[in-house]
Symmetry: C2
């Protein structure tokens, strides 16, 4: 039987969140957190709407997943996020002891790897899942934004 | 005339917040954000109460200060925090473009410097203000916690 719950499957759900952010005029980044193939948190970037630099998709998803689980650690969870996490989100993921991080497009300038952010030793990372779709959405956002200004 | 609004003055306010955290059974870290010698945000660590690794004093203070100012950047602000910020909080402060960070005790293992976190190039940092008081409060917390268990 074909596997339904692939990394691509959940990244598509994160992309749907990113598209909601796009429609709201936010940098289009989306995230879902999954445990046992079940989505327990969905979020998208809301930094503009909330006037809050901390309102990245990942941060909201971490808070929502912990709330769902009733505990602050996300040890058996996987985060799917359309763009590689930044220092802030990487730092939050470090504290959460999340099991796995799967990201779409790499952030060559502000991503965890470029910035030298330390993740928890128990956390594994997979990058590049649906990278082209994730990246194109962000590029399209900035092209449209430039054309409006 | 003697200067009232010294770094020590505001660090004492951050320490008061840390003491509130202590009373609640939280790792005692407190923070205030100041603009033009006026405190516009006060917060203390609430990770246990909220079951949320993102609920560090600094994160809440950043959100509250941006809310007060009506914009997400804290360019003319100073953060006073009793313990050196971690990667997550350093990453959030990076995005906020805060003018200045003043911390009390150094976090030799999880602080920004030890972890190699990049702050915004416009941000200046002063460490060690009332370091002994700030550090003692955290030490006392962990001693009492050990004795209870």
């Amino acid at each position: 039987m074909e596997e339904i719950f692939t990394d691509e499957y959940f990244m598509k759900r994160a992309l749907q969140e990113a598209e909601v952010a796009f429609e709201k005029g936010e940098v289009p980044v989306g995230a879902v957190i999954v445990i046992n193939n079940r989505i327990i948190a969905r979020a998208h970037n809301l930094t503009e709407l909330l006037n809050d630099v901390t309102a990245h998709a990942e941060m909201q998803a971490i808070t929502a997943a912990a709330d769902f689980l009733g505990g602050k650690y996300l040890k058996k969870c996987t985060l799917f996020v359309t763009l590689e996490p930044c220092q802030m989100c990487g730092g939050a993921l470090y504290w959460s002891q999340i099991d796995r991080i799967v990201y779409g497009a790499k952030d060559e300038s502000r991503g965890c790897e470029a910035m030298g952010t330390k993740l928890h030793p128990k956390t594994t990372v997979t990058g590049g899942v649906l990278a082209e779709e994730c990246s194109q959405l962000v590029k399209r956002f900035f092209i449209e934004k430039r054309n409006l200004n």
